[in-house]
């Protein structure tokens, strides 16, 4: 055992795989669940926020998902990764929460973009981002799920199929339909077209930055 930053004591379970930690928990060591929580809570929170758009509600989803996962640990049979299984629980929890709250889609209307305002690129970027996010939120739930998991979480279609509990081809089809629909919606939006033509250089620069960061 050794002390690390923040006074948290590290132990041997920190280096174990998810499956090995689960076996330890099943053997009776409840505290080992802390390892799984620390490993996956940030990615789970990020995923929840993409669906629910509210940090407090996303926090509730993360907590509920971990508790449900703990209760059902006996039924986890490692057919998919623990992360995929946890994501599946979180997505179902988010779906139920959205249904309960009768969550409305983002009510950000098409933002008129004056050419003069283009000088404030951060503001424009924020407005365009919200506009695009609005179209993403309007997608059917399954298409939005496949798109979110593929684009933002960089999961393979096999993992997406495991999380969504559907065949591989269905996961791909949901993703493809989401992209087609988005392309149609964004193509109709004249403000976005105008923005792209006026500040096309901005978009290219952002792409370069992303590529640099990734390399």
């Amino acid at each position: 055992m050794r002390e690390i930053d923040g006074g948290r004591v590290a132990n041997s379970t920190d280096t174990m795989s998810d499956i090995e930690v689960i076996e330890t928990i099943r053997a009776g060591d409840r505290k080992a669940f802390s390892v799984l929580v620390r490993r996956h809570q940030k990615s789970l929170f990020r995923l929840s926020v993409r669906f629910i758009k509210d940090s407090d509600a996303a926090e509730d989803i993360v907590q509920d998902s971990f508790i449900k996962a703990y209760e059902r640990l006996a039924s986890f049979e490692a057919r998919s990764s623990f992360r995929s299984w946890l994501f599946q629980i979180a997505i179902n929890t988010a779906k139920n929460k959205l249904r309960d709250r009768h969550e409305q889609m983002s009510d950000v209307q098409d933002l008129p973009l004056a050419v003069a305002a283009l000088a404030e690129s951060n503001l424009v970027h924020s407005g365009i981002a919200k506009l695009i996010q609005k179209h993403v939120d309007e997608l059917p739930f399954k298409q939005k799920t496949a798109l979110t998991l593929r684009v933002y979480e960089d999961l393979s279609f096999k993992e997406i199929a495991d999380i969504m509990d559907c065949p591989y081809d269905t996961a791909k089809a949901n993703y493809r339909h989401a992209l087609i629909r988005l392309r149609e919606q964004l193509g109709k939006n004249s403000d976005l077209q105008q923005w792209q033509s006026d500040v096309g250089g901005f978009f290219m620069a952002m792409e370069k930055k992303t590529a640099e960061v990734e390399s």
Binding site: G6, I19, I22, E23, I25, R26, R30, K31, F33, S34, V37, R38, Q41, K42, F45, R46, V49, R50, K53, D54, S55, A58, E59, V62, Q63, F66, I67, Y70, E71, R72, A74, S75, F76, E77, A78, R79, S80, S81, H125, I128, A129, I132, Q133, V136, V151, Y152, S156, F157, K158, K172, Y175, R176, L179, L182, R183, L186, F203, M206, E207, T210
Partner: protein, 171 residues
Amino acid sequence: MIDKNKQQTQIIDYPDEILLDQGATEIKNLLKVTDCSYEFEMKEIDFENMHNKIMAQVEKTEIKKQSALTKVWSDKVARANIKQKIYRSSMILGFCLFSYYSFPKITKVMHMPWTASGAVLADAEQDPLVITALSSYRRDHDFFVDVASASLDHLSREQFARLMKTNRKTR
């Protein structure tokens, strides 16, 4: 016990996944660049608090034990196969029942001319005169019309009038 041999190894992206993505690169890049999730980011201390809340709840929670039936039913592969088997066997059973009940009726209707013809031929074999009578007819219709008219010849006047009266009523 978890079978470690069943653990997922590194996921490989198949070529068709890459092909699908190539067509969607522009949209993907646009979505990544305009990602708004940073607005909801939490601080490290908030994650630590969330972790503590979860662990406090875990202390009060018990892992639910699986019953033998639940274990079988929760087997994803078995469940998928059972569903397919149920659908397939339902379709086959339905088809068999339909065939069983409808086939005799269909064959009965189709078999009637054969039955009738068979009875006539059986009579013809016993009585050679019937063969002579039958052979003069080109069609079954002519034979039956003559039989009907011959039977009317034996009717009395009252019987014939009654028959005509009945016929007019049915019209």
